[in-house]
Symmetry: C2
Subunit: 359 residues, 2 copies
């Protein structure tokens, strides 16, 4: 979405309220509900989506007045940011808006926990991404491989970044994919596994991009993967630990998250596939000795995943059941028990070339 | 230290033990003590240092035998890594060494918590860095600015990396500084502040390097800063939140940490100075409204810092006392309450050009 379009949406919001006031009507706004009851899993697209339920925020209702005022303050500041070509972190936004209201002892905001959810309200009301409002979440992650990206005028050949790689910023809307030679993107849960594969020259030998998420993927990473999959049709393969946490990280990359269901289309990547670690790998590669026992918290998490509609595919139910049965989980790093090179020279090439992937 | 020298040290360790065995003497090794009682603050160099107390690890003492065996397994694997030009994460090392001892049901290692401290033992025994043993800690942090780094044959101009920056790996021993045009390095606690300064073109306008630590600095960052300060004599200025946690992050960058006192010389940067946030800034820049109240855990941490020998400089005692008195802390992002540009156009240039820095 262009900055111009975002400004138009924000202006519309303000003008509608101004019109109500001029007509002596109660100023109000409709905000989509974000509770679980308004989230649906769309099987056809394999994406979590927000339903159509909304709530009304009414300025003349004392329970709503403060939030109403705060929502408009945020909308107004976002309009200013976009118009000036500036971006702000959500923490900076809070500090920018925090002040004592003239003639009172009342603060506009007392805590960032008041502004953060209203940002999401604004995103859902206007169907714009936080990044399009020029707001930034935290950044995390790095990228290496055969792609050339234009970033703010600089042309960056990501295959020439040594063992370091490009730090992925929280906003990647401005990235232009100039030359994409890699055959696929391998998205990796741990930084240590990313480093291992860099050392083994995996991206060069397999002509792929690699992205490290370092745990749950930040929005910048999810948006980057989405853009690679949709704009340059790059196949995406994910590689996580073999535990319920790793599997959930994969599901967020693929189908989106509950908290950001309204943005699944732009943050999720339904074409994404999963290479490992699976519970079947444990037998297949003789890794029994390097598994770890499940803790209660792991078991609880497995039961939760088994309830989620987006974990109902038979392959995933099978893996989760197998995990329960065996009572173990397995880490990516456990492959080092075979040899340091094993993951790069056998495990990944074998599984990927034979299409031994989970949906 | 060259790989050859590290291998020689590891070989020495093995040969000394072999010699003891051949002479029918008890195999043993001397391990420096790492408790607080063996850590000293060296005022002259402004570095934390390890004292000279050691303990003996004796193979014939049943309380020591397993650790003795484990220490030698690690030493032997490190020798193999260095000889083969490979590096491993400390988690991979654990998995590489974990196996059932032939003819028993005993594992060499049952948990990574057994191998991690022995790696530190080996570092202190041999006076080598973990990185020189080809072992990797976690990575974190990014860099941007006017420096050209050679990394594994690739020549990276870090002033041409858009808004992304270079991801700093856990090992930076192999970096070669090819061209260093920046006048100083600004090391920043939060990724969001780094992003702000990138957006304001601070590195270009002030000809500096910027490094984000994202909280406590990882070893890779600390080693990089140390190398910049010692090898290319780059002045280093640090910018953290105004709270005991930010001040401690600074002190670790400058004087080293208690846990890694044996490596302070290679991880600490005594020439480092501190620009903010200070408690004096709160008055100076009228930031009272955007401070946050101290929690009990903050107050406790302030008392602890006031006890540390390396916080006895009068400037630091003054700031910590002021923090106690005011009962508030202040974040870097609070400067956004003036304007988004304020930090880049007034705060930092004013304080740095007038030398208004803490030691």
């Amino acid at each position: 979405m262009t900055d111009k379009k975002v400004i138009a949406k924000l202006t519309d919001l303000g003008e509608n309220i101004a019109a109500l006031i001029e007509k002596n009507k109660v100023p109000k706004i409709q905000v989509p509900q974000r509770g679980l009851s308004n989230i649906k899993f769309d099987k056809k697209t394999n994406l979590l989506r927000m339903g159509s339920k909304t709530s009304t925020r009414n300025f003349m209702n004392v329970a709503h007045s403060k939030k109403f005022m705060q929502t408009l303050l945020i909308a107004s500041k976002c309009q200013e940011l976009v118009a000036n070509g500036k971006t702000a972190s959500i923490r900076e936004l809070y500090y920018q808006l925090k002040h004592t209201i003239a003639g009172t002892k009342e603060n506009t905001f007392d805590d960032q926990s008041e502004s953060d959810p209203l940002i999401v309200d604004l995103e859902t009301m206007l169907s714009v991404l936080r990044e399009e409002l020029h707001l930034k979440a935290d950044d995390k992650g790095k990228l290496i491989g055969n792609i050339t990206i234009e970033d703010t005028g600089d042309v960056i050949d990501c295959s020439k970044l040594g063992r370091s790689g490009l730090a992925i910023p929280s906003i990647v809307e401005h990235y232009k994919f100039r030359e994409v030679k890699a055959d696929y993107a391998l998205v990796i849960e741990t930084g240590a596994m990313f480093d291992r594969l860099v050392e083994e020259k995996y991206p060069q030998k397999n002509n792929c991009l690699m992205i490290a998420t370092s745990g749950q993927a930040a929005r910048g990473i999810r948006r980057l993967v989405n853009r690679l999959a949709t704009e340059v049709k790059m196949p995406v393969i994910m590689f996580t630990d073999g535990d319920p946490w790793g599997y959930y990280i994969y599901s967020v990359m693929k189908a989106g998250s509950m908290a950001l269901a309204h943005e699944s289309e732009r943050l999720g990547t339904p074409s994404c596939k999963f290479v490992g670690m699976t519970m079947s790998d444990v037998d297949e590669y003789g890794l029994e000795k390097v598994t770890e026992g499940l803790k209660d918290v792991d078991k609880k998490r497995i039961s939760e995943l088994l309830q989620y509609p987006w974990f109902q595919k038979k392959e995933w139910r099978h893996q989760l059941r197998l995990m329960e049965e065996k009572g173990v989980r397995i880490e990516q790093q456990a492959l080092a028990s075979k040899s340091l090179e094993f993951v790069a020279e056998e495990y990944l090439p074998e599984k990927i070339s034979s299409g031994n992937l989970l949906p």
